[in-house]
């Protein structure tokens, strides 16, 4: 198929960006979206132009590195997938595809489609861990049984890949789904109880500091999340926060 691409080009964080049109031809429906971008870039290199910078690494939907806002949707039109798992069969010959970076105050653009998501890391530094030494002298792994139900739910929350689609989708650029997922994982497990109060308070404080917006419960994040992280995690975080406020 032949396509027109409208792509955000921006030299660096200080320079203003703009949309630029490109044409690609002979795109196979079996290609992944990023392979289509490879074709474009090879074409640009061969004509002496600068290729489009975009983040990617695993290309199998697990590292969370790829981003891209495609035709107005984080990770594009398919559900439950990241951009690297999106296939060209979702498009048809003659389509025009708009490709922009994830946009949020807390995710400044670095170049073209690459954004800086280090704000997510700083939220994790604020409390996304259990304070246990890595000495190898911990108790036996089976000493504390954990119900299968809780373990499975913690696992579901833990599958967040930190891609930031929830933020890019949200009209307030809220990071509640991301933070809620981490808080939930530990809240559901006995190991996480000791620090529960400080954890939720510190992580939420950092989230506010980074400039993420408030949650107004529209639920768009849940729909666009490639890993199906549910809104329940936000509710659980709010409960944890409430508990923490009462305690102090």
């Amino acid at each position: 198929m032949n396509l027109t691409l409208k792509i955000w080009r921006q030299k660096d964080s200080k320079t203003k960006g703009q949309m630029v049109d490109y044409k690609v031809t002979d795109i196979s429906e079996h290609m992944s979206f990023l392979e289509m971008m490879d074709v474009l870039n090879e074409q640009l290199i061969n004509t002496g132009e600068e290729p489009v910078a975009f983040d990617h690494d695993c290309r199998e939907g697990i590292c969370g590195m790829c981003s891209m806002y495609i035709n107005g949707e984080a990770h594009g039109p398919d559900r439950g997938v990241t951009t690297c798992q999106l296939h060209m069969r979702m498009f048809k010959d003659g389509d025009t595809i708009t490709i922009e970076p994830f946009r949020a105050k807390a995710f400044p653009v670095i170049k073209d489609l690459v954004v800086d998501r280090s704000s997510f890391d700083r939220i994790q530094h604020a409390g996304g861990y259990i304070s246990v030494n890595t000495s190898g002298n911990t108790q036996d792994a089976n000493a504390t049984p954990i119900s299968k139900h809780d373990a499975d739910e913690a696992m579901d929350a833990a599958t967040c890949i930190g891609c930031g689609a929830c933020v890019a989708t949200c009209k307030n650029s809220s990071a509640m789904l991301f933070v809620g997922a981490k808080v939930s994982q530990y809240a559901l497990l006995p190991q996480g109880q000791v620090e529960a109060t400080d954890r939720v308070k510190n992580m939420v404080a950092q989230m506010d500091l980074e400039g993420f917006g408030n949650c107004s419960n529209t639920g768009a994040c849940e729909i666009e999340c490639p890993k199906g992280i549910s809104l329940e995690n936000i509710a659980r975080m709010n409960r944890e926060l409430l508990k923490a406020t009462f305690k102090s």
Binding site: D12, C58, I62, A141, A151
Partner: protein, 671 residues
């Protein structure tokens, strides 16, 4: 004596590690504050090492090319992690895990290292659970296990199909705690471009900030490389796009020996290539072989009919199908080890029986399993005279519960429903057992320079068993390196900060800069990918699943010619002082090309078949094992450690003879 000293402690195998640890020189906590350690790579190996080193009190400077430690390619591991916990009470033990790993590695690994690995494996699970890693549990709330890769016990711990992700997020969380305490200085989006040696010791690195393009000098008292595997030398592999050999290759050129480069694991169950634009291959977990049956059509007419779309695989009756693994290996059937399954698929496809347009695919069929589970369920649920459709529905539910996420992933990529039609699979490059040579302390042949995780060579011999790489990465990082490194650093307590103004740093930075400048000013004809794809094709055709003398010699010559062309005609757009992904790739591919040549030379030198290295000249000529791989313990029970001498082809071989005192060497048989 050889220049190689493995430093394996004396004494009985069982006590080596404990005794050794008890006598290692320690650095006292006050002094650790004055010691800096650089860790390049923050996957499972590097991330866990950073966490423990920081906790012990060292100042850690960590580097990764991704934008966060959480994105290292360890994240992609699906299946699980082994540990000798014997929770299932099925007779597992440290010795059995050790034995399976040495045997699985086709007797080409170092006994003492593997035993230590098995010994600390149980700690890993305790550690990870304490960190909140949500491993799968049974209804009683205890940890669940699965069996993996043809071993006889259930010792694999898992977190759905995302074990690597959960373990990495555990290590990342342990790092975050230390980052928050100021003990780890994390440099994301930084690529190490060289190591700096001062007075023969590793004292720092040159790194490039991938956002600004700035070239930076970083010093430390010791340097640890944890940069992962080099499977991308084949261009297509299950590795991440950025996975590279550069850190390992740069230290090789500065004196670290490179061991067994030709030992590559080619994983049998990957999604086949669909066209020339393909950028990477996706693994389907090995666990699928527990229930899937592998076949191709018996008759060539059916192959053609299927390729042309005139027939569907489901149209073929049982006796029109060739279940070639069950036919060739009745004892193990579809559960033969990875190397055997991969070669058998290649054999059928080379003979023309491949079932997709490229001729490189075989079927992995779940119909029998669905029927079997369905029948079982009908009995359990007391459904009398269940219809075929009902049985299928019941069976499908079981298969979905076990492999649902994999089936979904397959459907997203291939656009076919694997519950209705068999999956297509083909082998792909997946893991590299070879890597930088290290001694028992995990130190390379350069003092103060260490190498851990997939980047080193030590524990998997010529073939890695499933679920053992995650175990090795975390063992090295959490529990081995942080202690063995103390032995070396105890001499450095009075050294003080290492200056980055010495001539050595200036020189190393100059070299790095010149190379980068060459790339952006060359303005040649071909893109970096053009060369990478060419290299990949040579590697796959001549250094892939099976190798022979003629092909390997050709490969060496072709790769050399490719290298010469690359340095004349490569074209890299953009500049140095900016984010420039093509420039990053250029440096990586330049190193892959050099490694490729050494790889072929190593394969040529090893005139035996072992594990992932199958030499066509070395097969059993008669008897039950006729046509199978033939290992040669008399002449080849050694590690090939290569010393760099200017050109990859001039590398000098040093042999570390392997001694097996606690295991009897046997030819593997799966008939």
């Amino acid at each position: 004596m050889s220049v190689l000293d493995s430093k394996v402690p004396k004494g009985p195998l069982k006590n080596k590690w404990t005794d050794y640890k008890n006598h290692i020189d320690l650095v006292n906590p006050a002094n650790k504050r004055n010691i800096d350690v650089i860790v390049v790579g923050t996957g499972l190996a590097g991330g866990s090492a950073c966490a423990t080193l920081a906790e012990l009190g060292y100042n850690v400077k960590a580097f990764a090319y991704q934008d966060s430690p959480r994105r290292a390619h360890s994240i992609a591991a699906q299946g699980g992690i082994n540990a000798a916990k014997n929770y299932q009470g099925d007779g597992d033990s440290t010795y059995r895990l050790f034995y399976d790993t040495v045997k699985g590695g086709d007797y080409r690994s170092r006994e003492a290292n593997v035993y230590r690995l098995a010994e600390v494996s149980a700690n890993i699970i305790d550690q990870c659970v304490a960190q909140g890693v949500p491993f799968a549990r049974d209804y009683g709330g205890l940890l669940d296990n699965r069996s993996f890769g043809g071993v006889l016990v259930s010792r694999t711990f898992y977190a759905k199909g995302q074990t690597g992700q959960q373990l990495l997020l555990g290590a990342y969380s342990a790092m975050n705690r230390q980052i928050a305490r100021g003990k780890i200085e994390m440099h994301n989006r930084h690529e190490m471009l060289d190591v700096v040696k001062v007075d023969g010791k590793a004292r720092g690195i040159i790194a490039r900030n991938l956002i600004t393009g700035e070239i930076e000098r970083h010093s430390a008292h010791a340097v640890v490389i944890a940069s992962g595997g080099y499977g991308n030398v084949f261009f297509l592999s299950t590795n991440a796009m950025g996975s590279n050999v550069s850190a390992g290759w740069k230290i090789h050129k500065k004196g670290a020996f490179f061991a067994n480069p030709c030992y590559t694991q080619i994983h049998p169950t990957c999604i086949p290539r669909s066209g020339d634009y393909q950028s990477k291959l996706t693994l389907m977990s090995e666990s699928l072989r527990n229930d899937g049956r592998i076949w191709v059509p018996k008759n060539m007419e059916d192959v053609m009919a299927i390729r042309e779309g005139r027939k569907k695989p489901t149209d073929l009756s049982e006796d029109e199908r060739d279940y070639y693994l069950e036919r060739r290996y009745p004892a193990f059937g579809n559960l033969v080890p990875r190397d055997v399954a991969s070669r058998a698929a290649k054999e059928r496809c080379d003979a023309g029986y491949g079932v997709n347009a490229t001729g490189e695919a075989v079927y992995l069929d779940f119909a029998s399993a669905i029927t079997r589970y369905g029948t079982e369920q009908a009995k359990i649920q007391n459904i009398k005279n269940a219809s075929e459709a009902k049985i299928y529905e019941l069976g499908q539910a079981i298969v979905e519960a076990k492999y649902g996420n994999l089936f979904q992933m397959y459907e997203k990529i291939v656009d076919e429903n694997p519950y209705e039609t068999p999956m297509m699979i083909y082998p792909a490059v997946h893991y590299t057992m070879g890597g930088v040579w290290v001694d028992y302390n995990l130190m390379t042949t350069v003092p103060g320079l260490y190498c851990i995780g997939e980047a080193n060579f030590s524990d998997h011999g010529a073939n890695r068993l499933g679920a053992s790489a995650l175990m090795q990465g975390l063992a090295d990082g959490y529990f081995v390196l942080p202690y063995t490194i103390g032995d070396y650093l105890s001499d450095d307590i009075r050294t003080g900060k290492i200056s980055t103004d010495s001539p050595e740093f200036i020189e190393a930075e100059k070299d790095v800069r010149e190379r980068l400048e060459f790339f952006v000013t060359n303005k040649g004809e071909h893109s970096v990918d053009y060369y990478h794809k060419k290299l990949g094709k040579i590697m796959w055709d001549k250094c892939g699943m099976s190798r022979n003398e003629k092909g390997l010699k050709e490969a060496m010559a072709e790769i050399k010619a490719l290298r010469e062309d690359f340095w004349k005609n490569v074209s890299v757009p953009g500049g140095i002082n900016e984010m420039n992904p093509e420039l990053e790739k250029a440096g990586r591919v330049a190193d892959f090309i050099e490694l490729g040549e050494l790889f072929a030379k190593d394969a040529l030198t090893r005139e035996e078949s072992c594990g992932g290295h199958f030499r066509e000249e070395s097969v059993e000529l008669d008897g039950e094992q006729k046509g199978e791989a033939k290992r040669n313990d008399k002449d080849f029970a050694f590690v090939s450690a290569w010393e760099y001498k200017g050109e990859p082809a001039d590398a000098v071989l040093h042999k570390e003879e392997l001694e097996f005192n606690d295991i009897e060497l046997k030819q593997r048989s799966y008939k």
